[in-house]
């Protein structure tokens, strides 16, 4: 029942008062001592909150930061090492693989050396024939999402990205990127 709800001395519903506290004071609130007192209470809270925001950071960030990050990253790296591998070459001793992470790092590095290009996401898929991965083709399919500076010409830049990525990856791994899909996912101001 609304009549059971707490009210300020002036009769104003307390919940309604607090729900509009971020707004400019009404004509009533400017002259009502009860509303002014309630507002002052809030301003005091705001002042202490500002101190909490400003003051509590330095000491907290020193505590156990390295330990926690180290623990998480040990697990993350262990998972990453177990990740997918792409075949590089088959010799009489067996297949030489490159980790997908290493290949992705190389692709990103190659793409982002071009001015006005930032890589966003990249996926690598070994060539498939009839739905099955080919183990010795050194022929993979990549999909690269990039963000481009608004100052570059998109068609010419995409040609450059395709050439640069294909050349760098082939030179350093012998993997042939026959199929490079590039999606312009974002534009940014430079």
């Amino acid at each position: 029942m609304r009549s059971d709800r707490p009210r300020l001395g002036c009769g104003r519903d307390l919940d309604e008062f607090w729900s509009t506290i971020d707004e400019a004071p009404t004509a009533h609130e400017r002259i009502c001592p009860d509303c002014q007192s309630a507002r002052n209470t809030l301003f005091h809270l705001a002042a202490v909150t500002t101190s909490v925001r400003a003051g509590a950071r330095p000491r907290l960030e020193l505590q156990n930061e390295g330990t926690l990050k180290g623990t998480v990253m040990t697990l993350v790296r262990a998972e990453a090492r177990r990740g997918t591998k792409t075949p590089l070459k088959t010799t009489h001793l067996g297949t030489i693989d490159v980790s997908e992470q290493a290949l992705l790092a190389l692709i990103r590095s190659a793409a982002s050396t071009l001015p006005g290009v930032r890589d966003l996401r990249c996926t690598v898929t070994p060539k498939q024939v009839n739905g099955e991965e080919q183990q010795d083709t050194r022929d993979v399919h990549i999909k690269l999402e990039v963000a481009l500076s608004s100052t570059v010409k998109i068609p010419e830049t995409l040609v450059l990205v395709r050439e640069r990525v294909g050349a760098v990856v082939e030179a350093q791994t012998s993997v042939i990127l026959r199929h490079i899909d590039i999606v312009v996912a974002d534009l940014y101001d430079l």
Binding site: S19, T41, L45, V48, R53, L104, R118, A147, Y188
Partner: protein, 196 residues
Amino acid sequence: MGVSLDELDELAIVARAQDGDTEAFEWLISAYQGGLDRMCLRMLNDRTDAEDLIQETFISAWQALPSLAVPQAFTSWLYRTATNKCLDILRAKQRRPQDVRDGAELADMRSSSWTSVGCGYLSDPAKEYETQAQMLALADVLQTIPPGPRACWLLKEVHEFSYREIAEIVQLSESTVRGRIARAKRFLAEGMEPWR
């Protein structure tokens, strides 16, 4: 050579982490650990629980990143996961008897999560003492309000998220979030009245 992570915007770094780039994920931990630390400590008032929870949150994040629809969703996902875990812990604590801690341990925990003794950000020692006392009082009052409004208030007033962002984090309507924050403010302001 590629660009360093510090030259990229955060969305590009999240996207890299989504593709399994461990260096990008480590950057994200550094960027978000402090904020999650403050949020969870103030929600739980227990450093051990908070640290375990943050660790679990980042591990969940690494596993969930590939399926995150867009990089823009990362921040709200991270805070949503941490907030939900905090609420789960608080619910579980309500169902079982409270741990017995001695007064000194509680005082130290509360002090380390709310104040910055000796950091020198205030030059007047008397003023600094008064401010520290008020911050500790706020910490005490905050623990008396329900966890839901407490989380919304912290996200708004200490972590400076917008109402819309908080609605995404706690998965409630924006009007419900506004109501919860107003309610929390009312409790806190009234609880802080003796400290004016």
